[in-house]
């Protein structure tokens, strides 16, 4: 291996929170990296999330993207190509050579980073796959009527509505809001047996934001189990249970009523009841990244049992963030730090070996 062959010590695929965090962590260690983002702008999913603070910060991590983008732009060790797609990857003598192809970027792609100009090939000591997970498409659970009944939205759509101020005093003020948990998670029959880990947290936080903005609004939380975790929730759940109606019953369907969507669920006596709401929010889960199959093929990485990117892959290949399994923003940042640390050790060992 000749170190002169290396174009960039570490190549990071994906410019979301995980990819940017890995790049910043490498930069702190004095290592240069190249981040490749498929879309015209970096940021990934985190850019669509709303701040969930009420009286105090809810530690949801949505604001950390802004800091990361600014930090990535300010660090000269980080090169960011947007609108770029990986078309091939080959490993030889311990080094990866990855070909990139430009994608249509639009006229005014926001920075940081610049659209990839032309096809190019980069040789690197380590690759970090940070392509994120795929949010479940609620059309896959047609009985919950997303796209069919007005007033039914995915939680991702609610994030945007709350971020834009579309719900609150002077805007939309629903009298009754329902959250339905585990849409595309804990669904062995649907081929998705895993818990997506973040949905109880984001749903309860957004429920609290709605109650904070609109104290008259009643919020119902339909769930199988509350699978939230962490220190804060043990303290906060009792007060949340006073503020929000917790119903431990997975609804069977959402139907169209005259006043809006209706949720059919096993009522307190066990028999099915139908209750009307103004808004029904489907708490969609996180699945394997879109195109995971082609990433497995390109890099020779094995999928894990659920189709996420397995963390044990060929030498010099690392995975960061939700591509390896459902993770919150904060967990993705931590996980990316681990991948960066491993990649740095790998590159250090390669250079050490080259020096003999």
């Amino acid at each position: 291996m000749n170190p002169a062959e290396i174009d960039t010590p570490v190549l990071i695929i994906g410019g979301g929170v995980a990819g940017l965090s890995a790049a910043v962590e490498l930069s702190r260690r004095g290592l240069a990296s190249t981040v490749v983002e498929r879309e015209a702008a970096p940021g990934g999913r985190a850019g669509e999330f709303c701040c969930k603070a009420v009286a105090a910060c809810a530690r949801c991590g949505a604001c950390r993207l802004g800091d990361l983008l600014a930090e990535a732009a300010a660090r000269p060790e980080i090169t960011l190509h947007t609108a770029a797609l990986v078309t091939s990857a080959e490993q030889k003598d311990g080094l990866w050579t990855v070909e990139l192809s430009p994608q249509p970027a639009g006229d005014d792609a926001p920075g940081p980073g610049a659209p990839l100009g032309e096809r190019c090939s980069l040789t690197t000591g380590a690759v970090i796959l940070a392509v994120g997970g795929q949010v479940f498409d609620p059309a896959g659970k047609s009985r919950f009527a997303h796209g069919r009944v007005e007033g039914v939205h995915s939680a991702l759509e609610l994030e945007a509505m709350l971020a834009m101020g579309a719900i609150g005093p002077g805007a939309m003020a629903p009298a009754k809001v329902a959250f339905i948990q585990c849409v595309g998670s804990r669904d062995a029959a649907g081929g998705r047996p895993w818990c997506s880990r973040v949905c109880c947290g984001y749903a309860l936080r957004m429920a609290r934001v709605i109650r904070h903005r609109l104290p008259e609004t009643e919020v119902t939380f339909f769930h199988m189990d509350v699978q939230d975790y962490g220190r804060a929730w043990e303290e906060e759940l009792p007060s949340l249970k006073e503020d929000i109606r917790f119903v431990r019953a997975m609804p069977g369907e959402v139907t169209a009523g005259e006043q809006g969507p209706r949720v059919v669920f096993a009522g307190p006596e066990g028999a099915p009841v139908s209750e009307g709401f103004d808004l029904v929010i489907l708490s969609v889960g996180i699945g394997p990244p879109n195109g995971a199959g082609s990433l497995h093929e390109l890099f020779g990485a094995a999928p894990d049992q659920d189709g996420f990117l397995a963390e044990e892959g060929p030498d010099g290949l690392f995975v960061a963030g939700a591509a390896a399994g459902p993770r919150s923003l904060n967990e993705s940042i931590t996980h990316a730090g681990l991948a960066a640390s491993r990649a740095a050790a790998r590159v250090g060992a390669l250079l050490e070996a080259a020096r003999g």
Binding site: A249, P251, V264, A271
Partner: protein, 165 residues
Amino acid sequence: MRLNDCDPGFKHQVAAEPGGEGIRVCFGCAACSARCPVGANRPEYDPRRIIRAALLGRREEVLASPLIWLCSSCYTCGEVCPQGVRFTDVLTAIKNIAARAGHAPPSARITAELLAKQGRLLEVTEFENDKRAELGLPPVEQRPHDFQSILGLEPPPEGGEGEGA
């Protein structure tokens, strides 16, 4: 409820019956109850409550309950179950245990007698076979012997199971 009244082995007995193994993976989300057409008409019929009672080992209460015989076998519960539990089949397992324990209601006995006599619940008459002939379908016969041998009412016929089924 007293713990001493519970039989922790009951769920294993249900799981050991054909179709009963689904009881092992239920996590009680009540999607089944939400869609049950029987529950919509008989509020006391609640699939989640039945499976929960079985899991808790409330053996006598489950086996003696008249509710377990109300299932219409529409399988909607199985359609919506995230865990792939076929509650209809779990309930069949429970009903088989109940029947062996002498809890079968008169209607179940009448059903069994009809099957033993006719080989099917509805008697086949010329009317059915005329209709089938109009549709180009072969006639059906009453074949009570298959069921009689299944029910142990007479020895199986010579040369194997059934009558050339």
